[in-house]
């Protein structure tokens, strides 16, 4: 295979995010078997599928929390600096470049993962100040505006443990937004929430989709997925079994696996 140049006019520049033929295995378990994904700017792409089908792993490959064994990832025309695939484990070739890239891909986790020793506003301000070297006063103003936007301005000086799950997840979204990310990655953001708290988080996410954020979302909330996605990808046993617009996929699923998955989850 030829070396692919870092910035290339032959690169898939028309896609904002391009995931190309990703393979990933954990020991004996082949979790991803050649998955590709394209997202244009302002698009929302949702990943659905049964538990264990590899959705989270795919999402975590995009910001290299998991390092794919094969395949490439391009973000806004720049290829992630992974060592060439030579059969052995791949490494990050340029840590600094990866950190800069991660700073522009914000991730929202299932279990919120707010830093418990910091207050809510400190959580939101932490990475802009210490990773992006943003000025403190400006960052504080921005953080306060974002907390107000997600409806928890009054909790700015509380610690994460003092908030409900829904409030914590909204704080985590504010933390993500404060980085002014190019792409937002959501990893089952409502799965750890009590049912009555799911709505408040989905509402924030709907607003983000409506204002044209580029988002990749793993979710089991099918009505939400159907409503906000430009494209839905159904993963089955580590591969893409089916993809299309929500209308196509939800109304006329082509594969048996997808029909079964949808009929199970929708009833």
């Amino acid at each position: 295979m030829d070396e692919v140049p870092e910035r290339s006019s032959t690169g898939p520049i028309q896609s904002y995010l391009s995931v190309q033929n990703i393979y990933k295995r954990y020991a004996e378990l082949e979790v991803l078997k050649g998955v590709s994904l394209e997202a244009a700017q302002h698009e929302v792409v949702s990943l659905i599928g049964a538990s264990g089908s590899g959705k989270s792993t795919l999402l975590r490959c995009i910001n290299l929390l998991a390092i794919p064994d094969r395949g490439d990832i391009w973000i806004d025309g720049v290829r992630l600096p992974l060592s060439q695939d030579d059969g052995g484990p791949r490494r990050i070739r340029d840590q600094k470049a990866v950190r800069l890239m991660r700073a522009r891909l914000a991730m929202v986790f299932q279990s919120f993962n707010l830093w418990s020793h910091k207050t809510i506003i400190e959580n939101v301000m932490e990475a802009p100040i210490h990773v992006l070297n943003a000025p403190k006063a400006e960052t504080r103003d921005k953080a306060e505006a974002l907390l107000a936007r997600v409806g928890i301005a009054d909790k700015r000086n509380a610690y994460p443990a003092q908030l409900s799950g829904g409030q914590q997840q909204r704080a985590a979204i504010a933390r993500a937004l404060c980085m002014e990310p190019k792409i937002l990655l959501f990893d089952e953001p409502t799965s750890a929430l009590d049912p009555e708290l799911v709505g408040e988080v989905l509402k924030v996410m709907r607003d983000l989709a409506a204002e044209g954020r580029t988002m990749v979302v793993v979710s089991h909330e099918m009505s939400f997925v159907r409503e906000v996605s430009n494209k839905v990808i159904f993963l089955h046993q580590g591969g893409i079994a089916e993809q299309g617009t929500p209308a196509e996929l939800f109304r006329r699923p082509q594969t048996e696996a997808c029909q079964k998955f949808l009929s199970n989850i929708l009833q």
Partner: protein, 237 residues
Amino acid sequence: MTGALGLLSFGDGGWGDELLRGTLVTLQLAVCALALGLSLGLLLSAMKLSKHRLPRYIGDLYIAFIRATPEFLILLLFYFGIERAVQAVLVAVGLDVAFEMPRFLAAVIGLAAIFSAYAAEVFRGAYMAVPNGQIEAAIACGMSDWQTFNRVRLPQMWRFAIPGLGNLWMVLLKDTSLAAVIAVDDLLRQAKIGSESTRAPLTFYLAAGAIYLVLTGVSDLARNGLERRARRGMAGV
């Protein structure tokens, strides 16, 4: 009663000054051993958490050795061991001087060696007690390994480590009395000297006991305060 108070009074007739001096030595021993022991303990825990096998193995071996050896013996080994080793080095480089290991230093090193082995386990537990998701969140927003450790892991490690370290400090305070075996003039040794020259052992040993009680009591209060601070923001309030 006046007899006992007379013995413990300050000035020429009483042993109060000696006991006070012994108490200061005890505190100095404990604080120095704490500082050294915490640093060694951090280093040891880093070895135990290493990706490489060799440092892990050395760490395990050291901890197993300290655990299996009576504290009394460890102090003697460090005192005589370091003295012999330094002497051997001096001879090897052709210097013909007699080296005498400072007793206080030997006691501090011995006590720190003991403390560090147990502290390493406390640190390792604290390291692993920080939720992995919070570490991932730090990495995911672009923090370097050092920032992740320094800004997310370390500040939370203290919270998990303080109760365990508090217990170890209590043990250390009491273990300082072992320094008396290599003739460091700590509280216990002063009490012993006093009791032997006045034939009032109970008075002196009760007085020493009371002083240890005050030291551990104050430590307990300090630990509670630190724990409360470290738990800030954790469970609810």
